[in-house]
Each structure stands twice: as structure tokens, then as C-alpha cells.
């Protein structure tokens, strides 16, 4: 499992390279006499994938250039865009909340992926210069469709910090109980510890609010209360911290302009934007069901950021991923979930809920070898959904494959521990409103749309139609355990 830099020609084109250990491959103590640099497919990075040669040709269809000079784009309905444009305003405290881009406002007749949206809330541009009017507007508040509609002053009332948008997500908590998500940042900065009772009141992260709402180890016997789907905020990456080498796609831990740390999945990685779409849709759906999914953000990556990165592998990824990428809130100090220990503390109902969720989303990546579950603050967290909606990698119409069997569910790490999947089906399916698939699809950024978002909405709608064969399939797999 050494880093071979397979896509770095300078380092890999030599014989007797130690092979990637694999059960079916060479043993670790056996030298390998082959050129590992000759890999036919470069997995890491789109930009380095060898392209088939295409012969140059000109097809003359006899259209005079003047005839097409003034023709507009393909005739299709575009989203309504408000005439007023967003302005950038200074925010008194840029470390406060975030202002996001995606606003949900659906009308059944709209294109499912093209939401009618009000003017985007203004973006923060750093601290206001002292000689300007600093606080003419309210800061970015909790995730409201339009921040300017919010009553002013809440941010100031909380010590100048805006509320984290997640404040809206804890449905069982009143606004008075909510506090800025400063705790994690303080902890990260080497500040106070967050053991119970040691931290000042009002310095509680959203995750702890969640934990308080449903206390106990791993935690709730059941999945937490469902939460409304809200938009995904956008942050800008400011610093590359460390590569995460678990998987093949080399996500990176990055700091963003809200001081948060995010595990960034790059659009330019091997699986491309489709993996980000899967990550986004599954993550947001999982959270709306009440499962523990770290917050997702869209991470704007400036192409200048990677210019001086010395690691060629990382630089290639950064170079190939300008624009929006996906960020998963980093859970500092999280431990890997191990079935031997974790299952004892995980309720059978919650395990069944997670199996049902993965069956619904056709997620092949929750196996004993690679559970993609974390233990953090006494709760199980679901990460890495890039392999969900695996049907999307096949050619053809996505919706037509929505009812295809999903035999991979028998490898699910929690299946041996899960309670009835059919009961989980009865519990969870009613939590998904009929509008959810289209709302989810509307979150997909334009630059990720290798397939039309409507395809994903249709796929999920058909998957949710009862009777849901995937639930029966998972239940049968459980019975054979």
C-alpha cells in the first residue's frame, strides 16, 4: 500500500517497483518485474488519462457563416433570473456564517434542475475597511432563502457571529438554544477542550446540539428526527492541508475562508463529477432522513491555489479542478468504525436504517473492509458516498435502471447486525417527500452535470416507488446471513 505515484511518469517507469499488495497479486516479499508505469488507465486524474487519437477532419455542410452568426443558443427554457444582480457587501465578521448559492424554490412546471431563484444573497468579501460603512446590511444569517428577509441583529446578539445555517436543521431545538459553531474552531486552534462541562455555555457546535437532541452512545436507538432539506453553502478554499490516501481519488483536507476544515473531493479526480453528484445527493438525502452525515459544502477552488504545490499528484488534481468541488465537513479526532466494536453499541434499528439508505442509494461502498463509517462524539457518521447511484456509470437511461436489482447489498458491513429492513422501509420511506428527488437534483451545480439533473430525480423517484424491491432484496440478504 505504498504510494506509487502511478500517474507520475518520472517515478514509476522503473522495474522492480514494489507492487501494491493485493490478495490475488504478488506477495509483499516478492519483487515485481514489470513496468508499473504502463497502466492502461490513469485513475487519479482526468487530465492525465490518455486519450484516443482522433483524426482531424472537416465536414462541410454548406452553411454560410453569416447565417449562423447571430443565432442564439439552443432554444430551451432557461431559469428565470431576477433582473437585480447580487452585490458584494462587506461583512463585519467573515468568520461567521456562510452564504450559499443554491436556493430551493421549486415549481412543478420548472425544469427539475433549474430552480427559479431570487437574487443570490450578497457574498462576503472579507472584513470591511475601517473607513467605509461597515454594517449596512445584516450578515449572513441562518440558511434562509433570502438573508435580507431575516430580522436583523441575530448575529450581533450572539457576540457578532452569525448563526450557523445548521441552526435550522435541529428541528427540535428552539433558536434560543442555538449557538455559533465556534466550538470546533476553538478546539482546532488549540483552545479549550470540549469535554462535557468544560466549555462555556453558548459555545456548542451543531454536532453537539445534535447529540444533545438524541443523547446516548451511537446515539439514538433510532435514527434522529428527519430534517428539512436546505441548500448547500459555498465556501472558498484557502489552503491545502493534507492528502487523504484511503481511497483512489485522493481527496484533500483543505481549509476554507470560513475557517472550517473540509475533506474536499475534487471534480478532476478519476471518477469525475459523477462521484461528486453521488456524494451530494446521498449525503443530503441521508441527513434529511436523520442519519449522521457531516455537513456538505461546495468548495470554490481558485486555479492559482495549486500552482506552487510541489507534489505532482496533488498539483494535477488541483489544476484539474477549478471551480466548484465538494467539501465534507471534517470531523476532527474521528475514529474508524470497526464492526467488532462498533456494532455492539449500534442499535439494530439504526443499522437497518443505514442498510436501507445504502440500498436505496445503490451505494456499494459500505463493506467490512471499507465501512466508510466514523465514530465521532459517540455517534456513527456516514461518509464517502461517491460510489452511490452506481447505475449512473452504466451507459443508457438512468431511470430505466432504477428498478434493477442491487445484489451488492449483501456485502454491507452492518447487515449482520441490522434489524428488519422492511421495518426500516416503513420507518424511512414516509420521511422522503415526493418533491425530494427534484429538490435534491436542483442542488447539482451546473459544472457537474455530465448527466442532466432530471435523470437523477427520475432515478430516485422510480426507486422510491412502492413496493420497493431493494428493501425486500436487502431483507432477503439479511435472512441469509
Amino acid at each position: 500500500m505504498v504510494d506509487e505515484r502511478r500517474d507520475h511518469a518520472g517515478r514509476s517507469r522503473q522495474s522492480r517497483v514494489r507492487a501494491d499488495e493485493h490478495g490475488l497479486g504478488a506477495g509483499g516479499d516478492e519483487a515485481v518485474d514489470q513496468l508499473l508505469g504502463e497502466s492502461p488507465v490513469y485513475l487519479r486524474c482526468v487530465a492525465r488519462r490518455p486519450l484516443a487519437a482522433v483524426g482531424a477532419r472537416v465536414v462541410d455542410v454548406d452553411v454560410e457563416p453569416v447565417l449562423v452568426a447571430g443565432v442564439a443558443d439552443v432554444a430551451e427554457l432557461r431559469p428565470e433570473v431576477a433582473s437585480a444582480r447580487a452585490a458584494q457587501v462587506a461583512h463585519p465578521d467573515t468568520r461567521g456564517g456562510r452564504v450559499g448559492a443554491a436556493i430551493l424554490a421549486g415549481h412543478p412546471q420548472d425544469e427539475p434542475h433549474q430552480a427559479v431563484r431570487p437574487p443570490a444573497p450578497p457574498g462576503s468579501i472579507g472584513r470591511a475597511p475601517l473607513d467605509r460603512v461597515p454594517r449596512e446590511v445584516v450578515g449572513p444569517l441562518a440558511r434562509q432563502p433570502h438573508a435580507a428577509d431575516e430580522p436583523p441583529g441575530r448575529g450581533a446578539a450572539h457576540g457578532g457571529r452569525a448563526l450557523p445555517f445548521h441552526a435550522n436543521r435541529g428541528s427540535s431545538l428552539g433558536a434560543d438554544e442555538l449557538a455559533p459553531a465556534a466550538g470546533r474552531k476553538a478546539q482546532r486552534a488549540g483552545g479549550e477542550c470540549d469535554r462535557d462541562g468544560e466549555r462555556a455555555e453558548g459555545d456548542v457546535s451543531r454536532y453537539e446540539m445534535l447529540a444533545r437532541a438524541s443523547p446516548g452512545p451511537y446515539a439514538s436507538p433510532m435514527t434522529a428526527a428527519p430534517q428539512a432539506l436546505v441548500g448547500v453553502p459555498t465556501v472558498a478554499a484557502t489552503r491545502y492541508v493534507a492528502p487523504l490516501r484511503e481511497g483512489g481519488s485522493l481527496p484533500g483536507l483543505m481549509e476554507a475562508d470560513d475557517d472550517g476544515l473540509y475533506v474536499v473531493k475534487f471534480r478532476g479526480a478519476g471518477q469525475g463529477a459523477k462521484a461528486l453528484v453521488a456524494e451530494l445527493l446521498a449525503g443530503e438525502l441521508g441527513r434529511s432522513l436523520g442519519l449522521g452525515v457531516p455537513e456538505l459544502v461546495l468548495v470554490e477552488l481558485d486555479s492559482a491555489l495549486g500552482r506552487a504545490e510541489p507534489d505532482p499528484e496533488i498539483q494535477d488534481l488541483l489544476d484539474a479542478s477549478p471551480g466548484l468541488n465538494l467539501g465534507v465537513d471534517f470531523l476532527p479526532g474521528a475514529l474508524a468504525f470497526e464492526a467488532a466494536d462498533g456494532c455492539e453499541a449500534l442499535s439494530r434499528e439504526l443499522a437497518a436504517d443505514i442498510v436501507w439508505f445504502d440500498a436505496l442509494m445503490a451505494n456499494v461502498d459500505r463493506t467490512p473492509r471499507n465501512p466508510n463509517l466514523l465514530l465521532w462524539h459517540g455517534r456513527v457518521w456516514l461518509i464517502d458516498h461517491g460510489a452511490a447511484i452506481y447505475h449512473q456509470h452504466a451507459a443508457g437511461d438512468l431511470a430505466n435502471q432504477a428498478r434493477a436489482p442491487f445484489p451488492a447489498i449483501r456485502d454491507h458491513v452492518l447487515l449482520p447486525h441490522a434489524g428488519s429492513i422492511l421495518e426500516a422501509d416503513e420507518r424511512l420511506a414516509p420521511r422522503i417527500p415526493a418533491t425530494m428527488p427534484r429538490e435534491l437534483a436542483s442542488l447539482i451545480p451546473r459544472g457537474w452535470q455530465e448527466r442532466p439533473p432530471g435523470d437523477y430525480a427520475a432515478w430516485l423517484e422510480r426507486r422510491l416507488e412502492g413496493p420497493r424491491a431493494f428493501a425486500r432484496e436487502a431483507e432477503d440478504a439479511r435472512a441469509h446471513e
Binding site: E21, D341, P368
Partner: protein
């Protein structure tokens, strides 16, 4: 005369804060394929861990290390990974990780007694220097 056999080893590190990247050696895994040997030995020095990060809760970390030791030993009660073949278990144990317990890069050596090598590496790499 004992014959030397190749072995592979990795150090198990505790990284309480991934951003800072500071780590503490807390275990060593030795795998000698030709001798059919796979074992880990772990020890968590809580004082040194607390010195790295006073906020870290040592208990779950120690449990995690103990689980890895049981998986290396092939304890049949230690979950599905522990029931795999030794080479697969070793691969799993040293697969790159970004959580609090992470393996070091794997390196190799020659030994005639892997058990003694495990003790040797544990003393050199994990135990507190005298």
C-alpha cells in the same frame, strides 16, 4: 544456522489532529509471510498523547489500538476482518488511513525469529526512550 526470512513491518501512529500532523508511535505490526507470522503489539502512552493534544480522549484510541492488535492476531471475535487470511489482514492493517490511528509506510527486513523482531521493533519504535 537460522535462515533469514523477509518480513514487512509498519508502525501504528496516533495522529490526534490531522491538520497539525503531529503523531505518536503507539504500535508496530510485523508480517513474515514465509514464516506465517502476523502480529501487532500496541501501547498508548497517555501522557505523551495528552502532551500532543490535551483535548483528545485517550480511551477510544486505546480501544481502537487494542482492536487492531486482535485483528492482527486473527482473533475470531474481532470482526470480519480478523477472519481473513494473514496477508489480507496485514494489507488491511497497513492501508493508508486518515483517522486518528494511522499506519506508517511499510518497510522490510530480514529476521529468523519474527516474534523477537516484533519485540525489538516495539522497543525501538514505540516504547518511551530511556
Amino acid at each position: 544456522m537460522p535462515t533469514n526470512s523477509p518480513f514487512q513491518y509498519a508502525v501504528l501512529r496516533v495522529v490526534p489532529d490531522l491538520e497539525r500532523g503531529e503523531f505518536l508511535n503507539a504500535g508496530v505490526v510485523v508480517f513474515a509471510r514465509t514464516l506465517g507470522f502476523l502480529a501487532a503489539r500496541v501501547a498508548l502512552d497517555r501522557d505523551r498523547l495528552t502532551a500532543l493534544n490535551p483535548c483528545v480522549d485517550a480511551e477510544p484510541v486505546a480501544e481502537r489500538l487494542a482492536t487492531l492488535e486482535r485483528i492482527a492476531a486473527g482473533d475470531s471475535h474481532a470482526g470480519p476482518i480478523a477472519r481473513l487470511e494473514p496477508s489480507e489482514r496485514f494489507n488491511w492493517l497497513v492501508a493508508p488511513a486518515s483517522t486518528v490511528v494511522q499506519p506508517s509506510p511499510v518497510h522490510t527486513g530480514l529476521c529468523d525469529d519474527p516474534e523477537r523482531m516484533l519485540e525489538h521493533l516495539f522497543a525501538r519504535l514505540v516504547s518511551r526512550p530511556p
